[in-house]
């Protein structure tokens, strides 16, 4: 039951983030690889934010370590998702032709959605630590 609720919370976060990007005129990733790159860039932004907040004294070392761990875990999730993607689309992974099955392979896409959701929760956590 709890994992069911978490799954819907992560999907809701993903949808909200996608809508926010579109409203700001930012590109919304369309393919699996684009979503993987977006997830990787988000992990990096978590680390960059944590570094700046730690150096300014806005967060503790423990908070920074939590952010570092979350981003590293996200990288592992991305690697798992990419491996699942390559298993479904072995011949296409360098060029990604517009094959619907490879645009959003179910297992790989679900993993990426979970990764992005966790990163967004980490970003939200960091935001609560911003100085008011």
């Amino acid at each position: 039951m709890q994992s069911f609720s978490l799954r819907y919370a992560l999907i809701a976060l993903f949808v909200m983030a996608t809508a926010a990007c579109a409203s700001l005129g930012l590109y919304t990733p369309q393919t699996f690889i684009e979503r993987a790159v977006a997830a990787q860039l988000t992990a990096t932004s978590v680390r960059t934010s944590a570094t700046k907040l730690l150096n300014s004294g806005a967060i503790t070392v423990a908070d920074a370590k939590n952010a570092q761990t979350a981003a590293s875990n996200a990288n592992e999730g991305i690697d798992i998702a990419v491996a699942a993607y390559k298993a479904v689309c072995p011949a296409l992974h360098t060029t990604e032709l517009p094959d619907p099955a490879c645009a959003a392979p179910p297992g790989a896409d679900a993993k990426l959605t979970a990764v992005v959701g966790i990163l967004q929760l980490t970003q939200s956590y960091l935001k609560t630590k911003e100085p008011k």
């Binding site: 930012l26 590109y27 690889i33 988000t42 680390r47 991305i78």
Partner: protein
């Protein structure tokens, strides 16, 4: 709020938007070259992430972590 703290808040917000902005820029440059975003781009993004991870490790160490 001091100017230093306001600056921290602003740069943090910009960091959060930076990921989406970087993807937008990457897509635009790829489109201009007539190429799709590929796993090579993911490798490049991972390399940049490794640098950011090292910077955070350095900051953690500097603060006694």
């Amino acid at each position: 709020m001091s100017i230093a703290l306001a600056d921290t808040v602003l740069t943090t917000v910009l960091d959060l938007l930076a990921a989406a902005a970087k993807l937008t820029a990457l897509k635009a440059s790829k489109d201009a070259a007539g190429l799709p975003i590929t796993l090579e781009d993911l490798k490049d993004a991972r390399a940049a992430d490794d640098v950011a991870a090292a910077e955070l490790d350095k900051a953690i160490a500097a603060h006694g972590g």
